[in-house]
Structures are given as structure tokens and as C-alpha cells.
């Protein structure tokens, strides 16, 4: 067992550019779930829009990035409106069901052979990240060592900028939630009727929260694909949403640091488990009937699912959370 590599790879994964993307996606979800109490089960849909609404105009229509970016933001806002209008005045479960359904619809469209000409189908969309590559002051192909792990210049750049972006978004959310506007959101989460009795337009606030969290989620999705230099539909399955849930529950719902802390813990643990199993199967330290080289990678998903269930049951405030801030109580 090469513990050195296991440790460094897990650490790298926890702070990689992909993790930064997840962190931003989870930050958006935190605005919905943690601060407003909106049960959005379709954050993967926002992330997919973020990646594809940016990639498609650039690759297929030759747009410049400064046109593609506003288009992506507009699409994201439209998606939030489309999700919110039919469901926000209904019980929380309706939003949950509709968001998971719409996220699936988006993924199916992106995967469909009918739209391969536009979306690249299951091959994904490539060749739209020149903007990021040109922006990078470091040599894109140079190798950099991080302990036993080696990464290229592009990933290093995306990692640094990604986490700066995540920190910026965290600050933005912190400022928002300190404002009177943010206090109304929290009051909606605590008691919607009370907020309404005080004359607040609950529906409008919920919609604004859905839009802001959704746009943040789209930015995260864009980052997730940009660091990979390819938009892949496989990234945007419903598991993405629930990993984001696990991240914000781990870090503490409705906490500014929550997504950052949660992401690092989540990816470190998941990648550590994965690496240990991978090494164990390769060196035959583990019998084949437990895991073999074909299915060791699935174990991490089982672990993630169980952790989500167990955390919500036994420690809903997360590892460092504050019990008073934790409310999963949307009627």
C-alpha cells in the first residue's frame, strides 16, 4: 500500500478545481436549503445549464466568452423562474419533486441523440475553454508536484482561481444574509406565516433566493466543466445534487463556511476510501468477493448515501454546525 500517494491524492482531490466547482454548486444550494428552507433537489440542472449554456454558443456558434457568459446567466435565471412559478406557493415536496424532474429532463435532453448536433451527446462538448487557457499566466502543460501527486498548470490555475471564486461567493452570501433581505429569508425558513403576517412578500423572496442560488449553482457547474476542459452530461446526474446536499449538511446548513468545510471533508474522505480500495484490489490485499477492480469505485457512492442518511438522523447540524441554525423544517 502506497500510503503516501493515497494521502496526497485524497488531499489534492479535496482542494482540486473540481472540488471548488462542487463547493460553488453547494454554496448555491445552501442559499436555497440552508437559508431559505427551499428544498431544491435539482441543483444539478442549474449546474448543467451553467456548463452547456456557456459551452454551446462558443463551440457551435463561435460566440465570444463575453456574450456566452450573460447568456448562461440569463438561462439560469429563466430556469429558476420556470421552477419557482408552478411550485413556490405549494408545499415543500412539490418543489422537491419538480426540481428533481426538471434536472432529469435537462440531462435527458443533453444526452439525447436527437440533440447530439448541439450538445455533443454523451461525448460532451469540448474545445470551449480557450478563454481560461489564455487567461492562465502559468504554462498550461507544465507539471507541478504536490507531495506524491503531480498536476498540470491548467489544473493548478483553475484550482487557485476556483477557490478564490468560492471564497468570493461565500463573502457575497455572508454579506447578503447579514442584510435585512437575508434576515427576511431566514425568517421565512423559520416560520413562513409569521413572515407573511409581517407584510413580507414571501413568494417574491423565495423566488429571489431561488434565482440567486441557482445562478451560483450555474457558475459552479461551469467551473466543474471548465476545469475538465469538457462539458460532460455524466457530471450532471442527480447524484451531483445529493453530493451537494451531503456537503452542506457536513459543513453545517445555513453557515457561510459550510460549503467550503463540507467540500474539503467530503472529497478527502470519499477519495481516501476510493484510493485505499483501489490499492487494496490492485495489490490483492482484499478478497475479490468483497470488492474487485470492477466495483471498488462504487463503494464511495454507497458510503456517501449512507452518510447523508446517518448525518441527517444523528447530527443534522453537521460536524461544526450550530443546532439553532439547523432547520430542516419546511412544514
Amino acid at each position: 500500500m502506497n500510503w503516501d500517494l493515497i494521502f496526497w491524492n485524497a488531499l489534492y482531490t479535496a482542494i482540486s478545481a473540481a472540488a471548488a466547482g462542487y463547493c460553488i454548486i453547494a454554496s448555491g444550494l445552501n442559499v436555497h436549503v440552508g437559508y431559505t428552507g427551499l428544498l431544491n433537489f435539482g441543483q444539478a440542472g442549474f449546474a448543467a445549464i451553467g456548463a452547456y449554456a456557456f459551452a454551446i454558443p462558443i463551440v457551435a456558434y463561435g460566440w465570444a466568452w463575453y456574450w456566452a457568459l450573460p447568456l448562461m446567466l440569463v438561462c439560469s435565471v429563466l430556469l429558476a423562474l420556470a421552477l419557482g412559478l408552478p411550485t413556490l406557493r405549494l408545499r415543500a415536496d412539490y418543489l422537491a419533486i419538480v426540481t428533481i424532474a426538471v434536472a432529469e429532463i435537462i440531462r435527458l435532453f443533453l444526452n439525447s441523440t436527437r440533440f447530439t448536433w448541439l450538445t455533443g451527446g454523451t461525448d460532451g462538448r469540448n474545445g470551449w475553454t480557450t478563454f481560461f487557457e489564455d487567461l492562465n499566466p502559468i504554462d498550461n502543460t507544465a507539471r507541478f508536484d504536490m507531495g506524491a501527486q503531480s498536476i498540470d498548470g491548467y489544473r493548478l490555475f483553475m484550482m487557485i482561481v476556483g477557490w478564490c471564486l468560492a471564497a468570493l461567493i461565500a463573502t457575497f452570501i455572508w454579506a447578503l444574509m447579514r442584510s435585512p433581505w437575508g434576515r427576511v429569508l431566514k425568517s421565512i425558513r423559520e416560520d413562513e406565516d409569521a413572515a407573511r403576517a409581517l407584510g413580507k412578500n414571501v413568494l417574491a423572496y423565495k423566488m429571489q433566493s431561488l434565482v440567486i442560488g441557482g445562478v451560483i449553482g450555474s457558475i459552479g457547474g461551469l467551473w466543474l466543466s471548465a476545469q475538465k476542459q469538457s462539458a460532460q452530461t455524466g457530471e450532471f446526474a442527480t447524484t451531483l445534487t445529493f453530493f451537494a446536499f451531503l456537503i452542506i449538511v457536513l459543513g453545517g446548513l445555513g453557515r457561510v463556511k459550510g460549503p467550503i468545510v463540507g467540500t474539503i471533508i467530503f472529497f478527502f474522505v470519499i477519495q481516501f476510501v476510493d484510493n485505499v480500495l483501489e490499492q487494496a484490489t490492485r495489490t490483492d490485499n482484499i478478497p475479490d468477493w468483497i470488492v474487485d477492480s470492477t466495483n471498488f469505485g462504487i463503494v464511495k457512492n454507497v458510503v456517501a448515501g449512507l452518510s447523508l442518511a446517518l448525518l441527517v438522523i444523528f447530527r443534522p447540524q453537521g460536524i461544526f454546525g450550530d443546532k439553532r441554525e439547523q432547520v430542516f423544517d419546511v412544514r
Binding site: T87, V98, A101, W289, D292, T294, L306
Partner: protein, 440 residues
């Protein structure tokens, strides 16, 4: 289990090899080696006849078909397919051409679909581009769109029945406990896999295996209620938390199935039997499907009678309507909820077996079905079991109808149904049979 997993593994490897072969065949790389012919560029390919024989897809080469390469109507080159069905047209120039199959040289009874008759081909320097023509028996022109409608509706009915028996449980659980159980789809998958293990590993006939699956999935439902949801309710965990717990359970179960059984589509042993379809007017259905529709209808009628006529059924509906009132009028709500979980689990297991029979057994089949189930019960009115039936009927038929309205959209099958769900929420959020107080 060990040999089974190894078998699954080798199947996976074969599949991967097959897919990569297909990819290589479909997208020949620009740098593929030059062949014996001296022409720097070429267009080549095959003419193949695809048809179904005994339910299996067969592909055979079609010789002696003339293939013409044209540039805006002027002839550039031509070839006649050999015994392998292959043709080869060497090219001195590069550019964009059209390659056409000469339909007059086709053997009798074989047709090429009109949109496939002419294909565009772009040939760059030193490229060998492949264009394959697929023929088929002329089924397209005989069957007009309208004549396909009855068959589409029958397929929709079949899917509707399966959604109905699985979603009654989901609806009853929601009605009695308020929980939107996102792991209900995994109970369906569980049922299918239990039957699969009894059927192919233990070697039972499908019917006893299915009964065992129903029983075991019912037990799983009881286990969930006794071990998880009951205690959580007594701790007065919020419904939202429970919903997220159910998501976690669903995720863990789904990937556990993938871990145990692998990602390939599996089939029951007796699935291959009974292939001759029975014709009812314009509709052809295999006996298997007729059996599924009939058995589901019987089960649904049975459940409906149970809910309407028996004391337990009345108690379930009472708890659904108003748990506090039911409890204060002497109904043991915990027992009722336990019964609902057993019933819901058993029905999910049965639905899983039926779904597996029709569409194959796969680790994520439950998730696909879950969204349709949710669409059905929301459409019918959350918490109302008869609404669930009505909603299932609409959703099941709409899923198939969608592929009839939009051609070549098999991978978008569920999109139409999910779209209906969103529309209904806009217009009539309480669903078709729902009561208004549940929604706000």
C-alpha cells in the same frame, strides 16, 4: 455469487469491446492506413440488411447494389457491392459529395428509408470515409402513423399498470405519514433483483420467484417502518429531514445494487419463452404482456376493494384523511402505517418483477420509475390512492404517446410525462382527485 460476478464482469468486458469496435467502425479516423488502392482518398462502406428474426436482430450483407458518388448531380464514381456487401470508391479529389444508393438495383422486398437514400460525405486529404447503408423490410410505408396508435396505447396501458401498482404504495405512504419516500424506486429494484436471484441463481420458476420477491419486499417495507421511519417519527424528526434521509437511503441502495449485480441489463430465465405475439385487432402483444396487464388489473381491483370494503382499508383511508382524528377515534395509527409499508413494499416488489419482465432488470430502473411514480401521484392528487391510479394511467399512456407524437425520441420518453407534471402543477396543483388543503 462469486461466479455470477465474474460472469457479469466478462460480459461487461465483451460489451466494452463490442462498443469500441462499433465506434471504430462508425468513425474511421482520418489517419487510417492506406489500402492497396492507389487513390489517396476514398469513400467506402457497406450495404446491410437488418431485420428481426425470432426476436433477435440480424444483420446480413447485401451484394450487387450500385452505389453512386456524386458532386451536385455529376457522377464522380460508382461501385457495386461485393459478397460482403462492401463497396469502395477511390477518389483523386477532396471535397463534399453525396453518396447515393441506386434503389433500382435493390433486391426485391428490400427498401431503404427515404431519408437514408442519399448521404452527405465530406472527404479531406488522405481520408477514407465510411458510409453504411442500412436496409430493412418495408415496414415504414405500410404502417401509417395512425395505424400505430392502437399499439402505442396498448404499450402505454402496460406501462401505466406497472406504474399504478408501484405508485399506490408511494401514495399510501405519503397519505398516512406525510413522507415523500424517495427510496420507493429502490424497493421496486429490490423486488426485481430478489426475483432475479431466486429465478436464475436458485433456479426457481419465475412465478414462485416473483411471489418470493413480493414477500421479501413486503418484509423490507416492514423493516424500514420498524427500524427507521417509525423511530424517526417518534423522535418527531421533520418531514423534510426524513425526505433527505430517504434520498440518502435511495442513493446507498441504488449503488449497492450496482455493486452487487453490475451495470448490465439482466433478464429473467423464462423471459425468452412465449415469444409469439397474440393479435387483438391491430394490436400485437406477447402473452407475457397480456399476463402483466391482466394480473396488474386484478391486483389493482383487489387493493381498491381492500381499501373500500375491509376494516383495515377503511382505517388506512381514515389515517390518510386526518391522522389525529383517526388516532383519537381509536385507530392504532402505528399498526396502520406498518400495514401500509408492508402493502406498499409488496406492491413495489411485484411492480419490480413486472417492470423487469418487460424492460429488463437494471440497478437504476427504480430511479427512472420513481420520477414517473411521483408524476403519477402528483397528477392524481398527492395521498389519494385512487388519484394515483388515475395519474398512473395518464402518465403511462402519455409516455408512450410522446414517442408516437415525436419520432425517434425513445431516449426522451420520460420528458413528456415530466412536462405534464409541471403543467398540472401550474393549472391544478391539487391534482385531478386531490383535496385543496393538502397543497398550501
Amino acid at each position: 455469487m462469486g461466479t455470477d460476478r465474474r460472469r457479469a464482469r466478462s460480459v461487461r468486458i465483451l460489451l466494452a469491446a463490442f462498443v469500441s469496435l462499433l465506434v471504430v467502425g462508425a468513425f474511421p479516423s482520418a489517419t487510417s492506413a492506406q489500402t492497396d488502392d492507389e487513390a489517396p482518398q476514398s469513400v467506402r462502406g457497406k450495404v446491410q440488411n437488418r431485420f428481426e428474426e425470432d426476436g433477435e436482430r440480424v444483420t446480413e450483407p447485401v451484394p450487387d447494389v450500385r452505389i453512386v458518388l456524386e458532386d451536385a448531380g455529376t457522377l464522380i464514381g460508382e461501385d457495386v457491392t461485393d459478397a460482403d456487401g462492401s463497396y469502395f470508391i477511390g477518389l483523386e479529389q477532396t471535397g463534399t459529395f453525396t453518396v447515393r444508393i441506386d434503389v433500382t438495383t435493390l433486391p426485391d422486398g428490400l427498401e431503404v428509408a427515404e431519408e437514408d437514400e442519399v448521404q452527405d460525405v465530406e472527404v479531406g486529404g488522405n481520408q477514407n470515409v465510411t458510409r453504411v447503408f442500412f436496409l430493412g423490410e418495408d415496414t415504414r410505408n405500410v404502417q401509417s402513423k395512425w395505424s400505430l396508435l392502437p399499439q402505442t396505447l396498448a404499450n402505454g396501458l402496460k406501462l401505466a399498470m406497472i406504474i399504478a401498482i408501484t405508485s399506490i404504495g408511494l401514495s399510501l405512504i405519503f397519505g398516512t405519514t406525510g413522507l415523500s419516500n424517495f427510496s420507493h424506486g429502490e424497493m421496486v429494484t429490490f423486488g426485481a433483483f430478489v426475483a432475479f436471484v431466486f429465478n436464475s441463481d436458485v433456479g426457481w420458476h419465475l412465478i414462485p420467484a416473483a411471489l418470493a420477491a413480493v414477500a421479501v419486499t413486503g418484509l423490507l417495507g416492514a423493516g424500514f417502518e420498524k427500524g427507521l421511519w417509525g423511530p424517526l417519527r417518534r423522535r418527531s424528526t421533520s418531514l423534510t429531514s426524513m425526505m433527505i434521509v430517504s434520498i440518502g437511503i435511495a442513493l446507498a441502495m441504488r449503488y449497492f445494487f450496482l455493486y452487487l449485480f453490475g451495470g448490465d441489463l439482466k433478464a429473467f430465465q423464462q423471459y425468452t419463452l412465449q415469444r409469439d405475439p397474440v393479435s387483438i385487432g391491430p394490436i400485437d402483444l406477447p402473452p407475457r404482456t397480456l399476463f402483466i396487464i391482466g394480473a396488474s388489473a386484478l391486483v389493482i381491483v383487489g387493493v381498491a376493494l381492500f381499501l373500500l370494503r375491509t376494516r383495515f382499508g377503511k382505517a388506512i383511508r381514515a389515517v390518510s384523511d386526518n391522522p389525529a382524528l383517526a388516532s383519537s377515534s381509536g385507530i392504532d395509527t402505528d399498526r396502520v402505517v406498518l400495514l401500509v409499508w408492508i402493502l406498499g413494499g409488496a406492491l413495489a416488489g411485484l411492480g419490480g418483477v413486472f417492470y423487469g419482465l418487460e424492460f429488463g432488470i437494471k440497478w437504476d430502473m427504480g430511479f427512472t420509475l420513481l420520477l414517473l411514480m411521483f408524476a403519477a401521484i402528483t397528477l392524481g392528487g398527492l395521498g389519494n390512492p385512487f388519484g394515483a391510479l388515475l395519474g398512473s394511467l395518464v402518465i403511462g399512456i402519455f409516455v408512450e404517446l410522446w414517442t408516437w407524437i415525436v419520432p425517434n425520441a425513445n431516449d426522451l420518453k420520460t420528458v413528456g410525462a415530466l412536462g405534464v407534471l409541471i403543467l398540472v402543477l401550474l393549472v391544478r396543483p391539487q391534482g385531478l382527485l386531490g383535496s385543496k388543503e393538502r397543497i398550501g
